[in-house]
């Protein structure tokens, strides 16, 4: 299970860690199989993700995917963000072992849940 060096760098120096005090969209999703969790808080403004922060619990790919996602989406147009796929996350990490794709899936799900939560004018928590 060799992880790439970008992957490891995300683990050693995670980007955009934390929670936004003034988040306009928050979601926390859990992988029902292994219990991994990803929490994302976003500040959305004018169709853009102005700020993104994450917290994660779980195996290394979950942490790395959370970090890669939060870094990647900051400044992105919401519609663009909604088009992101698991593969985009995996690519940002220079690939993920086949058995670890679920971590990228969790990241995408959490992102979409957060954006939906704000569109419904409410937070998921």
């Amino acid at each position: 299970m060799p992880y790439s060096s970008i992957f490891k760098d995300h683990l050693a120096n995670p980007r955009n860690v934390g929670e936004l005090a003034d988040a306009s969209a928050v979601a926390e999703e859990t992988n029902p199989v292994c219990g991994d969790r990803l929490r994302l808080s976003l500040r959305l403004r004018d169709g853009r993700i102005e700020a993104a922060r994450f917290l994660a619990y779980g195996c290394a790919p979950t942490l790395a995917c959370g970090s890669a996602l939060a870094e990647m989406i900051e400044g992105m147009k919401i519609e663009e963000a909604l088009r992101l796929t698991r593969q985009d996350i995996a690519r940002a990490l220079d690939g993920l072992p086949a058995r670890k794709q679920h971590a990228a899936a969790l990241a995408i799900e959490t992102l979409q849940a957060a954006i939906k939560a704000e569109f419904r004018g409410q937070n998921s928590e």
């Binding site: 299970m1 992880y3 490891k8 683990l11 050693a12 995670p14 860690v17 934390g18 929670e19 926390e28 199989v33 292994c34 219990g35 991994d36 969790r37 929490r39 994450f54 917290l55 994660a56 619990y57 779980g58 195996c59 290394a60 790919p61 979950t62 942490l63 959370g66 058995r99 670890k100």
Partner: protein, 406 residues
């Protein structure tokens, strides 16, 4: 500047001792004969294998002809358990084992269970130790095998093997003649005194690579008169208990390592125990919310298993690895299975603690500086991961609320 590398994963495998490399090298090049050959080259190899057999036997108090050389500890467990099962199935199909066996013993027992065998898996309570009363209560007329490890590979707890051994002897005297007793001593050998007579076992598994010898060699102590069905067949080697050209250099290395391990046992034990204790004291002083797993007295001297609350082992493992520190985790993620460590679950820890457990295992070449380096790196790594952890955020918020309410 080169990264400092500190290897604290000696329960996974050990580097080969320079003296062991020296001992084996000639058997790769000049003395390369096949031990089954009649000519000079063959006899030279045969003599070396015989010497190694005496050395390995002597480490565990066995007779040389009770040692069967194999390709490793996993094969030793396979031969012992499947071999006895197949030899005994007319007498009964019940096996007693524990909840914390190595994955090889677990896997073999699971496979037998699928074929209709009954398996009793003894609990280990919160200290990680099997109770002799539970063993006694589980023996049935159709029990043909008890297999309980001598020391556990994740938490290091030492099991009451001598007690089980005398129980087995009594059971045999009472008429349960076909009852056999196997113990997996792969982790124990070289780290505590092991003697097949005082343990009273019929079979005992060993692996060279936990003893500063190469991977790919192992042995089964098979007490004289104990019958089993060979698993790898088709040759006269190892008195028909294991076919296949003997791995002469690997066996020579195993023998040399066993001899040195015997000579240096006390010294090694004192050394790794001191390092381990210094490490544990340091962790307790520097990191909050840690749980030490397994009975702290009855365990191997070189091993420490710690659960770090709120975080998952794999992330910590990789963070430590990036700083040159090699450890292992029973976490589901890194082992590729979905269940978090069955051993840590078996001692009653919740899923979160099981997922957050890390094994630090010291070796003869580790130094106090190694320990101090890890004590510098580890608290930071734990803190960094906790900073990311939603579980930790919630817990600290809850604590903050509590202290406010007070």
């Amino acid at each position: 500047m080169a990264l400092r590398r500190v290897y604290l994963d000696h329960s996974a495998t050990t580097p080969v001792d320079r003296r062991v490399v020296e001992a084996m090298l000639p058997y790769l090049t000049e003395k390369f004969g096949n031990a089954s050959s009649v000519h000079f080259f063959g006899q030279e190899a045969r003599a070396a294998v015989d010497r190694a057999r005496r050395e390995v036997a002597s480490m565990v108090g066995a007779r040389p002809n009770e040692v069967v050389f194999l390709s490793g500890g996993t094969e030793a467990n396979n031969l012992a358990i499947r071999g006895v099962a197949e030899a005994s199935e007319n007498y009964g199909r019940h096996i007693i084992t524990s909840e914390i066996e190595h994955s090889s013993v677990r896997g073999i027992c699971d496979a037998l269970e699928k074929k209709g065998w009954k398996i009793t898996r003894l609990p280990v309570y919160d200290d990680g130790i099997v109770r002799i009363e539970d063993v006694r209560a589980s023996v049935r007329p159709d029990t043909v095998l008890i297999t309980v490890m001598l020391a556990n590979n994740e938490i290091g707890t030492i099991q009451p093997i001598a007690e089980i051994g005398s129980l087995v002897r009594k059971e045999r005297e009472k008429g349960n003649r076909h009852l056999r007793f196997h113990t997996d001593a792969v982790q124990a050998a070289g780290r505590m005194h092991v003697d097949v007579e005082s343990l009273g076992c019929d079979m005992l598994s060993l692996s060279a690579h936990k003893l500063y010898a190469p991977k790919g060699a192992g042995a089964l102590f098979l007490r004289r008169g104990v019958r089993l069905v060979a698993q790898n067949v088709g040759g006269h080697q190892e008195r028909e208990r294991r076919a296949g050209t003997e791995s002469v250099a690997g066996i020579v290395a195993f023998g040399a390592a066993a001899r040195i391990a015997g000579e240096e046992l006390d010294e090694r034990v004192a050394h790794v125990r001191a390092l381990r204790n210094r490490f544990e004291a340091g962790v307790a002083a520097r990191i909050e919310d840690v749980v030490f797993n397994g009975n702290r007295e009855r365990r191997l001297p070189h091993l420490s298993n710690i659960s770090f609350r709120y975080i998952e082992g794999e992330g910590l493992l990789i963070n430590l690895d990036l700083q040159g520190v090699a450890v292992s985790t029973g976490s589901a993620c890194s082992s590729g299975s979905l269940e978090p460590s069955p051993v840590i679950r078996a001692i009653g820890r919740d899923d979160e603690l099981a997922r957050g457990s890390i094994r630090f295992s010291f070796g003869k070449d580790n130094s106090v500086e190694d320990v101090d380096y890890v004590l510098e790196v580890l608290p930071r790594a734990v803190a960094n991961l906790r900073r990311l952890s939603p579980l930790y955020q919630k817990a600290t918020q809850a604590r903050a609320c509590e202290s406010e309410t007070v």
